[in-house]
Amino acid sequence: MESDFWNRFLKNKMAVAGSLVVLLLFAVSLLAPWIAPCDPSAIDLTQVLAAPSSAHLFGTDQLGRDVLSRMIWGARISLKVGFVATGIAILLGAILGAVSGYYGRWVDAVIMRFVDIMLCFPTFFLILAVIAILEPSIWNIMIIIGLTGWMGITRLVRADFISLKERDFVLAARVIGASDLRIIFIHILPNAMASILVAATLGIAGAILTESALSFLGIGVQPPTPSWGNILTAGKDNIDIAWWLSLYPGLAILITVLGYNLLGEGIRDSLDPRLR
């Protein structure tokens, strides 16, 4: 079973490409202090908005800071936001979906109505409204993206639980006297892990996109902390003179999100070829 998965996964060129992108992103984030050519916050007013050159491969921003170095440090932010926000969403979604699918009846009805209500709100509106009240900071952003992104996972886990709870191994566990909590988390949940893993990978991609859009609008990660989104803000302010500020950070977002999406779809196809 496991070797089947790896066989299929490694044959899927797109999935391998996706995982390479994700691994590269991990490496860049971990090694940021050593591979960044300059200090990301070193201001050099003699080099304001300098075009790409051998000294500054991706040019400099409005304060003369090296764009490449800021992007390398920005990779850390993307990684952090992606994982923490998705972690929160998965935790909430898995627990609510498990409880909803396992107990059914009114518990299910209440949780599903709550999901329906949350889905009525344009997510971006909800995030912005909460940010208007709390301070925009990286932690608040991660928590809010997580708290507004659990609904899909809840539905997914619930559907898995509804079919899994009828299986014999659940009956067997109940016969030997296992508690509900034990059945839910020890027996059934591991069987739903596959779809959770896929949703998590795709969720990270979504969280990175949302964070970059928020930072771009100036309500996400706050300067001077570098993030791909807030470098693009400077790109918009200097749209007619400094194209490099707009081009490279966006390309980084596109490639990263593409990488996570390809990885997620690759995992899904390899877990169950019938789903293709």
Partner: protein
């Protein structure tokens, strides 16, 4: 049919109540009380004056009571007054900006439909062809594209480098002096980029959905029957298959409404379009809570309405839904 619509309406009622509860809770997440803004900056505001102000806004009453008062006002679209210096009613501020946002979203929905359906159908009918492969590359890139970045790039290309399209606002400064035809063209030119971009995200999703739908339908028995009785391939695909593959698209359109409305914040801000999205962004920056909450509520209600319209149109198009 009427019975079906009534059933949907009854189903929507608890959702509407839930929406109001969530809006109300978000509002009360705010640290301190809304009156702090008016009193903290004013050293002369005595404790007694503050208490009076709190009473004026019903803040001295228990939460459930405050909620009830708020809901009663909502029912007559009284969303309170803006905190900004003009102190205008929130409902007025939103309603005057709503038409342009709805216009933009409708235009991009039409564009999505007009492009995604042919793309999806063609790539399903010619599965694994070059066109199909190019489409799937486009779909993957579409899903991963930060659309605000694409907006920046297109602004640089068409606005700054080529100078073909304006990059901000919905009309030129000399709009009022233009003859009718030129004025209309001016409006179109301003709308091209925003509409194209807000359609972009939904386009990828819908064409992929349309493709898999079509692939599924083509494998059905009645398609084989249609072919077996000698119908032309054209009639089989565009009459028998397409009609059935189109049905679920109605639901998907309904589901894509919150994304479109949410996206309007980004596009209206980037292109300086005076719609509800831009008002929302400005109010968030200015911490104008009544406006923020008003738009949050309106946005959710619009989504709910969109879903209702989608449900009802589905029932019109597919009689099976009405019966079951």
């Amino acid at each position: 049919m009427l019975q079906y619509v009534a059933k949907r309406l009854v189903f929507m009622a608890p959702l509407l109540v839930g929406i109001t509860i969530i809006c109300f809770s978000v509002m009360h997440l705010a640290p301190g009380s809304p009156t702090d803004l008016q009193t903290q900056m004013n050293p002369r505001a005595s404790a007694e004056a503050q208490a009076r102000l709190r009473a004026m806004y019903d803040l001295d009453k228990p939460l459930y009571h405050q909620y009830w008062i708020w809901v009663q006002k909502l029912a007559v679209l009284d969303l309170g007054q803006s905190f900004s210096t003009d102190h205008r009613p929130v409902a007025d501020k939103i309603l005057e900006r709503l038409p342009i946002t709805i216009l933009l979203n409708c235009l991009s929905l039409i564009l999505i439909l007009a492009l995604a359906i042919p793309i999806g159908v063609l790539s399903a009918v010619h599965q694994n062809s070059l066109f199909d492969k190019l489409t799937s590359v486009f779909v993957f890139i579409g899903f991963a594209m930060p659309t605000f970045w694409l907006a920046l790039l297109l602004m640089i290309l068409f606005g700054v480098q080529l100078g073909w399209l304006p990059i901000s606002g919905i009309r030129s400064l000399n709009y009022e002096y233009l003859p009718a035809g030129a004025a209309f063209w001016d409006l179109i030119k301003h709308l091209i980029l925003p509409v194209m971009l807000s359609a972009f995200g939904g386009l990828a999703g819908l064409s992929r959905y349309m493709r898999s739908n079509m692939l599924e339908v083509i494998r059905q028995d009645y398609i084989m029957t249609a072919r077996a009785k000698g119908l032309s391939e054209r009639a089989v695909i565009y009459k028998h298959a397409l009609r059935n593959a189109l049905l679920p698209v109605i639901t998907i359109l309904g589901l894509s409404i919150p994304g479109l409305i949410g996206g309007s914040v980004i596009f209206e801000t980037i292109f300086a379009i005076p719609g509800m999205g831009q008002l929302f962004y400005m109010s968030v920056m200015a911490r104008d809570y009544p406006v923020v909450m008003g738009i949050l509520f309106i946005g959710a209600v619009l989504t709910l309405l969109g879903n209702l319209i989608a449900d009802v149109s589905y029932a019109v198009a597919d009689p099976r839904i009405r019966v079951s």
